[in-house]
Amino acid sequence: MEPVFFTLQDFFTFSKGITYVLMGIALVAMVAMWNFLVGRDEKHWPE
């Protein structure tokens, strides 16, 4: 059900609140995605 907002501040508190949580998830997911993508690449840096 669509939440009811009485002020613009209410709207942004709601939408930004969710977006910030999603951004946190995305930051972790992007690192995981990168590791998945290049995980089997040959390493070129010196040991």
Binding site: M1, E2, P3, F11, F14, S15, K16, I18, T19, L22, M23, A26, A29, M30, M33, W34, F36, L37, V38, G39, R40
Partner: protein, 390 residues
């Protein structure tokens, strides 16, 4: 292949020529009808729906899928990834023909096509997004023509002119990237003027950013897709360098496309959240939106990653095809499916068969010209007289 079969394929009446010939003949008839009877004679366009399939497919999809030109040349000449050099000429040729057909298709779609040069030469509407699109496409088509021309000049043996053009490569690449950034995003910006007409799930103030970013992975996927078809049909025209670098191009472009698609998907979810459009997801439009986002962005992104990890070239090639299809779905969604979504179904637009006929005709012209050029000019191989001079 037996000698008779080879002879049949080389004959003028081979299956490709017959099918292409029939389509071209029908296309010519439809063209005559369009330019003698006007738009109303062969289209379902109306005041409510002035942009139809010719804009959705021929222009929006055509421009997005031609993005392989600037992505490949930028990777090779600006980012120094010389291992992709053999992919530059096919990508530039595809882009050049793609943009040429976009302009040709516009002649069908615009009511008075002889006025197409007006915004450039006669009356500049500098505050219009459409003016910017027109100017960029006009300039970029010329840039692509010059970028493609060394292949034609080598074929014609015009060495002096070729030398001058080759020296312009870096400048043209930079110019091409700037122009592409501008007009790829502006095509999305065209829809910002209609917030009440585009469905909220597809409408976003970030539409220009979405159009630009999606054009990058569309271009990369199109290069892989075009390379797959070319390897099948023009294998004999490819030299050892092209064949050797082919897998580098496929894996490198798949990795890049995967990473960009992951970013695009993330931004689309953020946009959904910032506009608080979650409640639309339960509607029929929402299900179709999820099908696009999950089926044509998240899924190919994951499949590209699996393909790169497992070095599975077949999976990557199928994923490239699926991504190209996904871009077509996205552009159709923004410009047709989600456009005028509040109108009753009786007033919604569905293309007339003759509109589809013109689009098929234009794609066929693209294939014929592409085939003509790669069979004669050094696109998939280095001209023996110019080896190592690129």
């Amino acid at each position: 292949m037996s000698e008779e079969a080879t002879a049949a394929n080389q004959s003028v009446f081979n299956p490709f020529n017959i099918v292409a010939g029939v389509i071209v003949l029908i296309g010519i008839v439809l063209t005559v009808l369009r330019f003698t009877g006007g738009l109303g004679a062969i289209t379902n366009l109306s005041n409510n729906n002035p942009w139809g399939i010719w804009i959705s497919f021929d222009l929006l999809c055509g421009v997005a899928l031609a993005a392989g030109g600037y992505t490949t040349s930028a990777a090779c000449y600006l980012f120094g990834m010389k291992k992709y050099h053999s992919a530059v000429r096919p990508a530039i040729l595809t882009a050049f023909l793609g943009y040429a057909l976009v302009v040709l298709a516009l002649h069908y779609d615009v009511g008075r096509p002889w006025r197409l040069p007006y915004p450039i030469l006669y009356q500049q509407g500098t505050t219009s997004v459409l003016f910017e699109v027109g100017l960029c496409v006009f300039l970029y088509l010329n840039v692509l023509l010059i970028e493609y021309s060394p292949a034609a000049l080598e074929w014609l043996g015009l060495n002096t002119v070729r030398k001058i053009v080759v020296k312009l490569t870096l400048v043209l690449t930079i110019f091409g990237v700037i122009l592409s950034t501008m007009h790829q995003s502006s095509l999305g910006a065209l829809f910002l003027i209609a917030p009440s007409k585009v469905h909220p799930l597809w409408y976003s103030t970030y539409l220009p950013v979405f159009f630009f970013i999606s054009s990058i992975f569309a271009g990369l996927s199109m290069v892989i897709f075009e390379s797959t078809l070319s390897h099948h049909y023009f294998h004999d025209k490819m030299d050892k360098t092209h064949l050797a670098e082919s897998s580098h191009v496929t894996f490198g472009f798949a990795k890049a496309a995967c990473w960009i698609m992951a970013g695009y998907f993330t931004m689309k979810v953020f946009d959904l959240s910032m506009d608080n459009d979650w409640h639309y997801l339960g509607t029929s439009y929402g299900i179709w939106y999820l099908a696009e986002l999950l089926g044509f962005v998240a899924l190919p992104c994951f499949l590209y990653a699996v393909g790169v990890r497992d070095k599975n070239i077949k999976l990557i090639k199928w994923t490239a095809f699926w991504t190209v299809l996904g871009i077509i779905v996205n552009r159709f969604n923004v410009s047709l499916v989600a456009f005028n979504w509040q109108l009753p179904s009786s007033e919604r637009y569905f293309p007339h068969w003759m509109e589809i006929g013109i689009t098929v005709f234009l794609i066929t012209v693209f294939v014929i010209v592409f085939r003509f050029i790669v069979r004669r000019m050094p696109i998939f191989y280095e001209h023996p007289d110019y080896k190592g001079s690129h």
